[in-house]
């Protein structure tokens, strides 16, 4: 049965789009049929991170308004044939998304894909609540930093109140994904550590993505880190997080700063 996953955070710049691309790519690589949907109308970026920015013809809004068919707007990834993108519109604003239109498109996507990953815009306004509306699962992307954790707590409250499942009295499956984790700074006590974040938010951990140059390099190239450098710590973290999302029980390893030192001494590339 298809699963709708919202990748959300409240705060901007924590790594939602990178995470949507990373998890989507990792799921698609394991043979799952995946679509990533950009809900950030007016400020789309998922196309750019996936290297599909020049292939956008029709977008989510066009499909919602019936101007284009879903099939016409979906972009199939050139590297992974099981990965698809439904891009957001760059010229419209979030008011162009109607409740009924979004519900219809999500329903159609459910019949075609195993996984529907919704990349939420930042904030708690309409775009963000629409992105989470039909979700079965939520991935809350958090940085180990006070404002990000506070905003995550707020978004968790909204997930429990405003999603379709919550309104029906059902529970939405929620996971924390810690991104931009810097092991060296955490060890020095400059950054909240993993257990602090989990204790405060009291939700299960989907994975820890270390802060890495590899992620930036991959965005520059428009190739998700999972494909660009599968051996890197960030790619392995996304691959493992995707397996946990599929129900596998894997221990989460907290990245240690020592690997960084090793890389500094013996060259930058792990693979």
């Amino acid at each position: 049965m298809a699963k709708v996953v919202v990748v959300t955070s409240g705060k901007g710049g924590v790594g939602k789009t990178t995470t949507t691309a990373g998890l989507g790519t990792a799921l698609a690589q394991s043979g799952q049929n995946v679509v990533v949907v950009d809900f950030d109308v007016g400020l789309r970026n998922l196309d750019l991170v996936l290297g599909a920015e020049r292939r956008v013809v029709f977008d989510f809004i066009n499909v919602v308004q019936g101007v284009a068919k879903l099939q016409q707007a979906l972009i199939r990834d050139k590297r992974l044939e099981t990965l698809h993108l439904l891009p957001a519109s760059q010229t419209r604003d979030k008011d162009a998304l109607t409740d009924e239109g979004v519900a219809r498109v999500i329903g159609e996507l459910r019949s075609r894909f195993d996984w529907i990953l919704c990349d939420s815009p930042a904030g708690i306004e309409r775009g963000a609540t629409l992105a989470m509306r039909h979700a079965d699962v939520a991935v809350i992307v958090t940085n180990p930093e006070v404002s990000s954790v506070r905003d995550s707590d707020r978004i968790i409250g909204i997930l429990d109140a405003k999603t379709e499942k919550a309104e029906k009295g059902e529970k939405i499956d929620k996971h924390i994904l810690i991104a931009r984790f810097d092991p060296a700074r955490a060890a020095r006590g400059e950054m909240l550590n993993i257990s602090d974040v989990l204790e405060i938010l009291s939700l299960p951990l989907l994975g820890i993505i270390p802060e890495s140059e590899e992620v930036l390099r991959s965005s520059n190239l428009g190739t998700p880190v999972v494909l660009n450098n599968p051996g890197s710590a960030a790619a392995r973290a996304y691959l493992e997080a995707a397996r946990r999302l599929m129900g596998e029980e894997l221990n989460v390893t907290v990245p240690s700063g020592k690997r960084g030192l090793f890389n500094k001494l013996f060259g930058r590339r792990a693979a």
């Binding site: 954790v149 506070r150 707590d153 020095r188």
Partner: protein
């Protein structure tokens, strides 16, 4: 002699402070006390209650909230000028 432990503590461990501040803040934001309009609502109702008995200036009512870990204190300061005419009770 250099006190190394103090040196390291001062320059580095800010994470425990962050954690404690977050725990206190979120405990409040999750509770009814976290309602952003709570203080305004309290001020209005307290003012209304007192004004039924004593004539006073709305600007002379100060309401403050100090959020602690275990208990919070709500501080209300009402300035009543001396020599005001008492209003008839239950009017």
């Amino acid at each position: 002699m250099i006190n190394w432990s103090a040196f390291f503590k001062r320059s580095n461990s800010t994470a425990p402070v962050a954690r404690e501040r977050l725990q206190i803040l979120l405990a409040h934001e999750r509770s009814p006390l976290g309602r952003s309009d709570l203080i305004a609502a309290l001020k209005e109702e307290i003012l209304a209650a007192i004004s039924r008995h004593v004539e006073l200036d709305a600007d002379k009512v100060q309401v403050k909230m100090d959020r602690g870990a275990a208990v919070s204190t709500l501080e209300i300061e009402v300035e009543i000028p001396n020599g005001v005419t008492a209003l008839a009770a239950n009017s």
